[in-house]
Symmetry: C2
Subunit: 279 residues, 2 copies
């Protein structure tokens, strides 16, 4: 319990300064100015033994990734972060450094402008960090369902990397939206599965030419925090990314009018990926 209270104190200390008229940690709920435009809302956990392991991952990396996973979901809508709440389950005894966990959460939150405005610390059998985020988008969010035959498919970077501190592609998602992206998803469950989700929701097929992967990586692993999106005007996409000083997205293929057909070069697009997520 002492460790839990220290974690609370450290998080409150790092996010202690709500702007005038707002209340963050310290009450039954956070009290916030509502964002302008459309509200985005998502939740994602990271679980010891499933998403991270003692010995392999540091507590700071766990905190960072708990935040980054959620921010990547906002990025995939073309949205901007608004605020986060965190629920932490702490095992007793706890071998994790909870100060470092709080610091990792806070560093990701600060890096991407998504303050942790409240939360809860309880006991659990293993370390679990569940973050929920709100975000906003002015205009229309980019769903999975708008891709059209003929749209060009892009990824925001080479797949198969498993970065210790992944950077959610928030600026890239917003640039893609501004450039008229018709459908977008992050590759958290692996490109083959995530791209099929887009294609099924949109009623299109997918013909890929080539998919960039990091040396030694695989594009079917997921957890690489890139975005894949469809857009009708590739020139507008490249211009929007250039105007935002972002690395150019990589063309991987196009959407076709053959729903259910998924090809890579001359062959089928492999299966694979994590099928357990709901949203």
């Amino acid at each position: 319990v002492t460790g839990e209270l220290r974690l609370v104190e450290r998080l409150v200390q790092r996010f202690g300064s709500a702007p005038a008229g707002e209340t963050w940690a310290g009450d039954d709920t956070a009290v916030l100015r509502a964002p302008a435009g459309t509200l985005l809302f998502a939740i994602d956990p990271v679980v010891e033994g499933v998403h991270f392991l003692p010995g392999r991952d540091t507590a700071a990396d766990v905190g960072w990734r708990a935040m980054a996973r959620n921010l990547s979901d906002l990025a995939a809508m073309g949205g901007a972060p608004h605020s986060a709440v965190a629920s932490v389950l702490v095992p007793d005894p706890c071998e994790w450094d909870l100060d470092e966990l709080a610091d990792g959460l806070a560093e990701a939150a600060e890096s991407f402008g998504c303050p942790v405005v409240g939360g809860d610390v309880s006991t659990g059998p293993v370390l679990v960090v569940t973050v929920a985020v709100t975000g906003s988008v002015v205009g229309e969010a980019v769903l999975r369902s708008g891709a059209q035959p003929g749209d060009t498919l892009f990824v925001t970077g080479a797949l198969g990397g498993l970065p210790r501190r992944p950077r959610p592609r928030l600026a890239e998602g917003q640039a893609a939206r501004a450039a008229g992206a018709t459908a977008m998803i992050d590759t958290s469950d692996g490109l083959p599965l995530d791209l099929r989700r887009v294609a099924r929701a949109s009623g299109v097929g997918v013909a890929l030419d080539e998919v960039p992967v990091v040396p030694g990586g695989s594009f079917a692993v997921g957890d690489d925090y890139e975005l894949v999106f469809a857009a009708p005007d590739p020139v507008a996409v490249l211009a929007a990314f250039d105007a935002a000083s972002l690395s150019a997205p990589i063309r991987i293929g196009r959407c076709t009018d053959s729903p259910g057909s998924y090809t890579l070069g001359d062959g089928p697009l492999p299966e694979g990926g994590w099928e357990h997520t709901w949203h």
Copy 2:
């Protein structure tokens, strides 16, 4: 994994019908019209072995309580529910009936007008249901910090009940806010601790006359989902509850100008309660 997918399907089925212009489950995040006024945001988990037990609790009750805990936090601000997301960790093998879990979540969500608009199902060592909610309040939320010496203290019902399906006091919280409540909290961690939180945040003392408890109950146990609030005008409070056709709240005492002093009748207010929550 089959059980997880069925849980996803069942939740999507129960909350499948987003209004026009909104997208609920099925994309990277939910897309919602932002509520008018001020945004409230909170997260709370229920954990097997901590908040519920196999044999004692049904899966449906677990789902209900996961939602009710969060709604009680909104009630304590005088707020109205807007939307919820749920993260469910499912052990493998799983002895819990996940259909019933989804039904319990859905029944509480429907009973109190807080649709589950998205979520995630992952593997975990025990069943964990973490719900995050947004809500709204038009005007000022009722914080913990506004109580003044002389304010009357009320509870919304007898404490110490451990109902299988607690009903968050949303209407009562809104009536208290409308009647000028200066500070409010739910008694989830037990009245002695929760009332001290209000008193510390407000810089007042507390002099209680008598605290209503259910037969055989204790007011220090918590988990009773009542509200305790301070208000300067008890007549206005009783009128507001009567106008809303709510049971009259019960006067338990008053706030004093002696910070740090907590009395019940002629003696001290006992200690006790759950100290691990952050918000």
